[in-house]
Amino acid sequence: MAGAGLLGRVRAIRVLLDPVQMALLLVLLTILVVFILYPLLQVLAVAFTADGRVSLIHLRNFFARPLFREALAASLLSGVLAVVFGSLVGLPLAYFSVRFQFRGRLLLQTLGILPLVIPPFVGAVAFQQVLGRSGMVNLLLQEHFGVTIPFMEGLAGVVLVQTLHYFPFIMLNTAAALANLDPSLEEMAQNMGCHGFRLFRRVTLPLVLPGYVAGALLVFIRVVDDLGTPLMLNYTKLLAPQAYLRITTVGLNDVDGYVICVIMVVLSLLALWGARRYLSLGEYATVQRGTTGASLARPVRGWRLLLVWVVSGSLLALALLPHLGIAVLSFARIWSFSVLPVQWTAGNYGEILFRTPHFVKNTLLYSLLAAGIDVLLGAAIAFLLVRGKVVGRSVLDAIATMPLAIPGVVLAVGYLRVFHGWDFPGLGQPLTASWLILVVAYSMRRLPYTVRACDAAMRQIHASLEEAAMNLGSNRRRTFFKVTFPLMLGGLVAGGLIAFITSSVELSSTIMLVPRMEMGPLAYGIYIYMQSAVGRGPGAALGVVAILLVLAGTVALNRIFSRGTGTAFKL
């Protein structure tokens, strides 16, 4: 008996230390530690040491500076306000699009995702043109009523742009939760005598809350992370621009920059932690799907229909304003202090296609590479998480999820700290001097999304499908290529597309990491062009290219999922 017990234990250990899986795990862990964990730890180390000793002195200094305190308060405020206003816009639209049947419902579902396809900093420029001090609306107001409204001044402008850019996260996540709700849960409440607003408050709302919280969390984290919008609107009293300014103007050794980074990470983590209670309950909606399945969407008529049309129409019009503004601007030769451009041209497109084609080319190159890397890493990580038995998988999962809470600015600062000033093996120059740093940054930032997509795809493949192939005489390798891989393909492509779409308009880490002007991608190009008045036309043209790129990726993504719009943007 003792012998059998020993043998059993040896077998168990052999499974836990499976050499192939172990090797894969080690390679993956090395990559993740070098490009995610270590840079982050470096940022922490700089922020929390003084004269070679652990110290909180820098943190105390941070809170002693009124500018930093204001920036922290403003970042928090902008995050909270964007969530509040985003909810005001997103929740009614989510409810209308799921629960009501009316003409234009499909339009609402389709247009609702469009704000996400315009990079927020591009939207910021467009909003300036339309709502700015000398924008379309204020010029008209001045002409007819002699007043102007400062829509875009200070924090208000930042919040306005961010709200209208990010509200689809709230709308899509809430709508998904609503649509997945088992109808019998609400019918049961009606059966018990509950209806109308009480039904919504006692049953529908609590059940939809996890979806809503997931969306709100995404909005908050992205807003705190957003560097492009405040820079474009020239409002720098926020954490992200402060960190950027410290590092780029004062220098890489400025401790304050690192402390700001730490504060930003803490904000993200706090938000994640606060939301976890609800997110862990995320399985609510689909726990017990009834068989009756009757759709709860009901037709609306009369004044209710009018209300639905007016509310969704005006909200969408506002949210799609930047798309219109940017399109007009891209064809304008001169557009300032006038309601519409005075002269039209197609020359802006000539400029970006022939004089500075590298912006578009670089974007395609970097984003495709990053997407490819993410698919490889994501598939390998998902394989270990779902099918692997080797020890240490949870560590892998934890590190691969970390980028969700690391703002782009922080990761960029970490990279500058770690990879600056020494030749990267096999590269002959520092990593930060090569455009590869951008590819690395993009792929690491988007890794959690691809891992998630691959993981989901992998979990859908029941192990018995593979076992059936092996049972019929197919070996491990052939089983993988003939059964597992084809079934995973959809998830892999989807994961890659998500990485591609979001990388192609990434600005926060780009601005800090671009080694030389000609290595810059599209987002960087827009940023550079928009610095000068004459560059706004070509900048807008680049913006249109960015919109088209993201739109194409999103359409492709929805074709793959064919489950309605916005799958890529749901948490």
């Binding site: 409440a189 009606q190 059966n191 018990m192 209806h195």
Partner: protein, 373 residues
């Protein structure tokens, strides 16, 4: 249980000429029923027969295109679900995952704005009734399937509904638990004396639990009666074959007199029946004869008990099922029949290939009236 906490105000349910169409298909077609106070009534039928739609019409989740639903004298056809007080138990249980067991059961009482103390008392009593005392703090996800089912039942009963509607409540339970919950359901139903409508596709469940059954097919009720009536006197071939297993022989009437009918069945010859009901068909009329497998017996090839219908055949397959042996016998005319006999003691069952005589009593031959189309 002692004094009953739930003074059931059982209602009589009347369904009058109810029809409901989804697009081009009729889900429910001209259904008229009267379900008495305190009765345990079952809608039985295959999936898609309209039984669940009919139940949802009674609950108020679907509005009929035509016809009326009444609880006692009150017309409820146009009342929304929340004004009907018709307690429903869903197939999926529909326990709210964000609420504890206590909160789930208290939900309807809170809707009725009862004082907190009374709510507490009644929740405790309801959970005791279904055997779940002490589970108040649990979440639905922490309960087994059977326990979830009991919570769903308690939640519905605690509001003292006028009628209890059960939508395939046992279908998500395993076989053992299903039987146990079935007994429990009948016990509770009898104790409370509550009018109950039960929807199922399982004929054993329907026969075992119900006071009366309505067998449904294609949105219509094809037969209504006690379990015994439905089983022993199927009104249609559909009922004979859906409720239990039947051997059905189409034939032509040769002789008909009260208590005795002779019909000629192609391939078998003359069969005798002793109908004790209904109008006798005329000689020459087509007729369907149905015989239950357990009404048939097998004998040796040369044996023929007196006074019985007999047909020779060959055993094609036999399955030992413990208490009984199930045979598939191919009659000499080429017609297969199923025979179920009690396992003989100390005697080997007929092996496949054996030649046998299939016998059955004329009294066990059921006459099915020709389909009225």
């Amino acid at each position: 249980m002692g004094s009953q906490p739930f003074a059931a105000k059982a209602a009589e349910v009347r369904i009058e000429g109810v029809s409901k169409r989804f697009g081009e298909t009729w889900a429910v077609r001209e259904v008229t029923l009267r379900i008495g106070r305190g009765e345990f009534f079952t809608f039985l039928g295959p999936s898609g027969c309209g039984k669940t739609t009919l139940l949802r019409i009674v609950a108020g989740f679907a509005v009929p295109d035509a016809g009326e639903v009444c609880f006692d004298e009150e017309r409820v056809t146009d009342l929304p679900p929340w004004r009907r007080n018709a307690g429903m138990v869903f197939q999926s249980y529909a326990l709210w995952p964000h609420l504890s067991v206590q909160e789930n059961v208290a939900f309807g009482l809170r809707e009725r704005r009862l004082p907190a103390a009374e709510i507490r008392e009644r929740v405790v009593a309801a959970l005791a009734l279904v055997g779940l005392a002490g589970m108040e703090r649990r979440r639905p996800s922490q309960l087994s399937g059977g326990q979830q089912q009991r919570v769903a039942l308690a939640r519905t009963l605690v509001v003292e509904p006028r009628v209890l509607l059960l939508d395939e409540p046992l279908s998500n339970l395993d076989a053992k638990l299903r039987e146990q919950m079935g007994h429990e359901l009948t016990r509770i139903q009898r104790e409370l004396g509550i009018t109950t409508i039960y929807v199922t596709h399982d004929q054993e469940e329907a026969l075992g639990l119900s006071g009366r059954i309505a067998v449904m097919d294609g949105g219509r009720i094809v037969q209504e009666g006690t379990p015994q009536e439905v089983y022993h006197r199927p009104a249609r071939r559909f009922v004979a074959e859906f409720v239990g297993v039947s051997n059905v022989f189409p034939g032509t009437v040769r002789e008909a007199s009260p208590g005795r009918l002779v019909a000629e069945v192609p391939g078998i010859g003359l069969l005798e029946a002793s109908p004790d009901h209904a109008a006798l068909p005329q000689p020459g009329a087509p007729v369907l004869l149905s015989v239950r497998p357990e009404a048939m017996t097998l004998w040796g090839p040369e044996e023929k008990p007196a006074g019985k219908n007999a047909a020779r055949g060959m055993v094609r397959a036999s399955t030992f099922q413990g208490a009984s042996v199930e045979y598939e016998v191919l009659l000499e005319g080429g017609r297969p029949v199923r025979v179920s006999t009690a396992t003989p003691k100390g005697q080997r069952p007929f092996p496949p290939g054996a030649t046998v005589t299939v016998c059955f009593d004329p009294a066990d031959v059921i006459l099915i009236p020709p389909e009225a189309r």
